[in-house]
Subunit: 426 residues, 2 copies
Amino acid sequence: MRAEIISIGTELLLGQVDNTNSSFLSRELASLGVEIYHHVTVGDNPERLIEAVKQAESRVDLIVLSGGLGPTEDDITKKTLAEYLGVDLILHEETEDKIITYHKNADFEMPENNQLQALILADSTPLTNDTGLAVGMMLTNDRHHYVLLPGPPDELEPMVENYLKKELVKHILEEQVLVSRVLRFFGLTEAQLAQKISPLVKKQSNPTIAVYTNDGEITVRLTAKSKNEDEGNKLIDEVEKEVMSYLSDYFFGYGEKRLAEVIKDLLMEKELTITAAESLTGGAFLSTLTSGLSAGSILEGGLVTYSSDKKNKVLKVTKETIDKYGVVSGECAIEMAEKSRKLFGADIGVGLTGVAGPSSLENQIPGTVWVGIAYKDKQSFSKHFHFGYKRNKNRRLAVLNALELVRRTLKELPIENTQFYGEDKQ
Amino acid sequence: MRAEIISIGTELLLGQVDNTNSSFLSRELASLGVEIYHHVTVGDNPERLIEAVKQAESRVDLIVLSGGLGPTEDDITKKTLAEYLGVDLILHEETEDKIITYHKNADFEMPENNQLQALILADSTPLTNDTGLAVGMMLTNDRHHYVLLPGPPDELEPMVENYLKKELVKHILEEQVLVSRVLRFFGLTEAQLAQKISPLVKKQSNPTIAVYTNDGEITVRLTAKSKNEDEGNKLIDEVEKEVMSYLSDYFFGYGEKRLAEVIKDLLMEKELTITAAESLTGGAFLSTLTSGLSAGSILEGGLVTYSSDKKNKVLKVTKETIDKYGVVSGECAIEMAEKSRKLFGADIGVGLTGVAGPSSLENQIPGTVWVGIAYKDKQSFSKHFHFGYKRNKNRRLAVLNALELVRRTLKELPIENTQFYGEDKQ
């Protein structure tokens, strides 16, 4: 099946917001095997919206519209479609109740317009909005499927995940079910990963294999169509085994969790605590661990020691180490890890030191990074990296690779002769 | 003048990358007074590209294409346009030299294809690529202007800023010049800001007033068309004065610099150093200050004390304060600020404590935040905030408002009875 995505909103044409709905919808539809050849964006203008819908009708079966379901005068999508398709707008009572309850609880008066968000096209299937008020819908007539979704991504995304996909599977795949599994990898670039599994991707059509990257962490999604869930899972098991035969060294978990979250889970599971002393990353390592889910049980605190003086005076890295090896050294990284571990009474201490850039430090060029790890009574160690990027990317790569070092340490995985992500080819 | 933006790339239709080029180009073109009614995305497919170009030709004067200028077989834009418009592709020698030099310096062999990136449409104006190899171009025939830009945003954006806009001004505005000025604000929502200046926006056409928001920081861009730069600046001065009559309380600087960068500049200018003790923000405040430009001269280090125990043992917040007032208190925030200032020998210390969420702490609900400020021999103080959002947004708002508190302290601006950003209406 082919689909076209039409985004509606003058704010998109003014560039006031990025259009992330089109890419999100494309990924989700691709995972269902739906092909997309066009994205189109128009403003809050009925003529241009109808023109875009007509054109889409001439090209595809499934037309997905996002935006323009809100309560203001600019929100023209439902009214325009109703007139164009010659169907009535009717009240969706469940949504109306929800809107009334919402305003009662919020203790401020409901603007009259707000009830507009409870109108749906007659004979359409309503799509619940778990995170907002405007109801979505899917309408099928004798020639096309029309899907209307709210514009805000935090409303659209759960609606698609939780409701639209099920509807589409019912309509598009008929008797079939769709099973998918997400594998997560770190340590190589998207191109390197794609190359490793390219023979597999080429010969594979069910399950499909889709690869995405987000800031160094790579997602591989396997999606199988099958008669039932058991069979789907069996198909996925087989392909997963093949994928893992190429990539198991880089695998860090199932599902959408970020590397930092996986490490937090690992620490919690093992009832361990972590701390860090950060120089070039300036708080970014600790901040990454404490964002997302609560971190109270795995982290009591940590330290940023930017200057040599404070590495010595506050963290107690010895003057000898600093004078003999410099602060950009494995020795300093190890001592930062050990001293922070002691200061915060943690099971594992991480020291991050190096040169973020743009200037050099101690005659070492930007991108030079040392990470030290001190873990319980194990031998402390350091690892040297060189990332040849700009300041903020060097910092981000230092944080990600330090997290990966923690993961490998806790899992007792090899560290020497292992490929790490973002390093210069040398 | 009207324009249409056509993005080319199968990766966009698969949702593998977000289309940020369309929004960036829209903003830039809007600032020139160019109107945009459609964004269209097609894959690496010559037929569909030509179809999209034909449709755009029927609707607008200026057609801006992004993507497909690289060296691989997928990169079809130039070849397709050349055939469609009946013009030759010729070698742009400057770009060819650059490609050869690049590969010589990089010390790896140049793939033959790479030279394709030096081809331009005959009679087009080349647009220099400061951050990559593929040259851009602008071609004007008797009916339309065609602009071809590379797909990667880090190549497209400088090309537009540094070269395309000048070309467009020459072609579109003829004898005129375009002067623009960027004002930056923090402390109110985009809607609140827009409402305050709406009478001004309504009556104004030259200069234009455009409002954008980025994570709580608001940009107002004034753009004037005029005969010469002096006159343009005069027009902008007048409108700026009017804008500031509504908004001066929230103004933090000119240009694109983030709030954190402005505060770093301010600290540098005054030769002051800063430190922080962070609880709920877990390193995000320090990380924000140390990202971007170098921070070595204004920051020697800081501390994350997540647990009460480490607030006491490492930071030396007294047991009495913690027992009497709790860690979620103004008293604790002040003591964190003062003790961190002492520990790191800084001029200004910032203490951040509170409840990020999702759980409550000390019977205080998520979003409760206290920021303490200790500055030289001035009386220390704290400010209470309540942000009713999710964990990560509560943390981000705490960081931004702490930065704003530092700015107000250093500038001796009022803090009581001042509106801060992101607080619950209460």
